[in-house]
Symmetry: C2
Subunit: 469 residues, 2 copies
């Protein structure tokens, strides 16, 4: 049996990405055009993400619910900007069995209107607020192209939808969830992120403000890894949602929504993966350790398994009849943080080989030393992955004070570029046309010191631009 080859990451990054997705058995293409199959390892990573995020959501008072999957056309049409943003890419159900429906329904592309429809019923007084709901589900957007985890007609995600008594409270919630996403991605996925407001052009259809989490992939391209929206009361007004406040007047509540999806698996791959395949940060790896027994080692294997179980460290044993070399390569392609080679001959000399996936460094320890080393390595790997990604990311952030500089960077380098911006969409559009780069987010922490990098007029803000997936 031959190990499947992975294209070199520096030669053809797009092909490398697909090779890793396929060879690590994360996904498979389906005969259902536009849809992907998420295979056991891919789904297990998603389950780990769900477990951590769901806990964070619940600890901050959110409750899970399940809204309908379908949206009747008239309901989608209630909020104007929203329907314009989504109608071109929805899947329409027109028939139930043999009968034509009186009104066609789309499969939800997102669920703002469904939540509003429910909130209108269940919100009466200020005592009913806030409503902090979340939903784990599949959404559908009729994409023309398919790329595993990045672009697909069906997307697994969570969508939080909340309603608040005051504007201040809603803005606070928007930022709270935005920060939960940031914490999750940095601490668990080991992905350093750049965060900030989207420009008017790039914000969510119907939102007042969109906050975005932008991660930089190995090739310098951006991946939008999560968004948190403040809606003001646009939707609430369109749906006629009101509550009786304590001062006995009818008011309109303020709304947020926020979501992350299986797209994060794409960024895990493209931030940490290497020419051997997937590299999983220990805190999100479904199995922290893979054990490869070589020869007659049943007794020691059982002992090791007991120790791992006792420490709550998840693991897999590769007991297949493939050669050790093949198993090593497969352990690497699937990204297990630590590989333990449990060899009959080595054990006679009281030796065991541990291999850490991030650096592929081999460490020889005694059997008794395994557990302590595993614990330390898991911590080390988590830190090292984040630091490596951060160093690379920082080295690919550029600064352009003139438009020529921007064009030069766009031509010769990949990464994010900081510019000054006047705030006009024309300049944003011009950058897009000339360089393929789009606005990533505003940089509100930096002072504006020069004119707009594009038009030379007075700049009002600093802005990240970059190419994107």
């Amino acid at each position: 049996m031959e190990v499947k080859k992975i294209t070199n990451r520096d030669v053809d990054f797009a092909k490398w990405y697909t090779d890793v997705c396929m060879n690590a058995d994360l996904v498979d293409y389906s005969t259902v055009k536009g849809s992907m199959i998420i295979r056991p390892l891919g789904y297990a990573i998603w389950e780990e993400m769900q477990k951590v995020l769901d806990k964070m959501f619940k600890e901050t008072g959110h409750e899970n619910v399940q809204m309908p999957m379908f949206i009747p056309e008239s309901l989608l049409n209630v909020e104007k900007e929203h329907v314009e943003g989504f109608a071109p890419e929805v899947a329409w159900v027109t028939h139930g069995g043999a009968e034509k429906l009186e009104e066609r329904m789309c499969v939800r592309p997102t669920s703002e209107v469904l939540f509003c429809d429910h909130y209108k019923k269940i919100i009466q007084t200020y005592r009913d607020l806030p409503k902090l709901y979340n939903q784990w589900c599949t959404i559908v957007r009729w994409e023309k192209t398919t790329r595993p985890f990045l672009r697909s007609r069906e997307i697994l995600w969570q969508e939080g939808h909340t309603m608040h008594r005051t504007k201040e409270e809603a803005i606070k919630e928007t930022l709270r969830m935005f920060n939960i996403y940031k914490t999750f991605q940095e601490n668990y996925l080991a992905i350093p992120v750049i965060t900030g407001k989207k420009t008017e052009k790039e914000k969510f259809a119907g939102a007042e403000v969109t906050y975005t989490i932008e991660a930089m992939m190995y090739d310098g391209y951006a991946l939008q890894n999560g968004t948190s929206h403040y809606f003001g009361n646009h939707f609430a007004e369109a749906f006629g949602i009101t509550f009786l406040d304590s001062d006995n007047t009818l008011k309109t509540p303020y709304q947020t929504s926020w979501g992350v999806s299986t797209r994060m698996i794409g960024s895990l791959i493209m931030v940490h993966g290497d020419n051997h395949g997937l590299v999983l940060p220990p805190k999100i790896a479904p199995f922290k350790v893979v054990i490869i027994p070589i020869g007659e080692v049943a007794e020691k294997l059982a002992e090791l398994e007991d120790n791992l179980k006792e420490s709550g460290i998840t693991y897999k044993v590769d007991n297949s009849n493939k050669s050790p070399g093949y198993k090593f390569a497969e352990a690497e392609v699937k990204g297990f943080p630590i590989r333990i080679e449990l060899g009959e001959r080595d054990l006679k000399n009281n030796q065991v080989t541990l291999v850490r996936r991030d650096t592929l460094e081999k460490i020889t320890v005694t059997f008794a030393e395994i557990m302590q080393n595993v614990q330390n390595l898991l911590e080390d790997i988590q830190i090292n992955l984040f630091e490596t990604a951060k160093k690379r990311r920082d080295s690919m952030i550029y600064e352009a004070s003139t438009y020529d500089e921007l064009l030069d960077i766009a031509k010769n380098k990949n990464g994010f570029v900081k510019i000054n911006w006047c705030g006009n969409q024309e300049c944003e559009d011009k950058i897009k046309e000339d360089t393929q780069m789009k606005s990533r987010c505003l940089i509100e922490s930096e002072e504006v010191t020069g004119p707009c990098t594009v038009c030379g007029k007075k700049a009002t803000t600093r802005l990240y631009v970059g190419k994107q997936y």
Copy 2:
């Protein structure tokens, strides 16, 4: 604020059921026709069910995956019996955005064909077997009527789909998962179940054998609470799935599928609920305890919360500004297994009142005795709910040796009836026509001693019949 009224269970069971669903905030009707909204308590119950079952599935070697949501018409058509069973009740997607699809797709009503399509790609040799996959997802069946958790266009469920090298192994798997369902329902949901094979008429479209889990509701009606199917190699042959066996010959694998859904929440309500509302078995209740503070008890409340957290007992505190009486009624309607009334005056006498939801019995204990009593009560309630349901169920199982007896029972009583049966569908159809009762399952453990209860010819089996939801 007035407590919402619940119709008396013995006066109008159907209305009582809807009242409990709505007043316990389990579900809400949606403006999306045919679909339900699952509210926080309803969804939390489903999450508890998922948690236990998912662990049982994984412990028996199953892996979770996610297949596409859509099935192109040509794919649905591959297995003849299957498409005949499902085509009349699927939702058809005909347009993506403004474009008409070349081939329409239905939203999955079940995923046998999608799994087979994938298995055809990933199964090559006997070393690839067994494949033990499961999927948690939403399916759609275009129902004309809607009843919370029982009948709805969208159903949340899990569907296991497995492929095996031999017939024996596949049959073993069918029975293993069937037994996991039985164990889960009896040990966690506290629902005694009747189990066995479905008749030819009642089995799943495309299956060779269907095993069913039948629960009896308070009113004597049956609810099919889960099924496990053995497919032989019908689907595998239709899809051309083969594997190279160790004897170097190409063979066709054997298949199973098995599923349970949010319908189980319906049976929880209809088996354990009473005139005060929902009654949740402690092992499946998202919150085992509700604490109702009365007066100034902040310090003792904090202490009690610490103790519950330490013991891993989930709880809610009702801190709303409603009256104690209202809170008691709400705690009852929502089915918390134990209510702790933490009153300022009682605490001065070192007294606390515990109320168990199943019997509504009040127990007065000292503050220090709370935890021990809670632990014991949770165990007692779990056992008592099962025993009560079993006693009632057993008292509603009848025997009919003549057709007149069967007609008499059908007219005057509700429950399951044991009969002798010749095995002909004509007799099954006649019972249905005359009594509304359908076959529940074969009783293979009992010896056949008389002629067919319907036609008087030679009986070949014993059979449960009963009315159903």
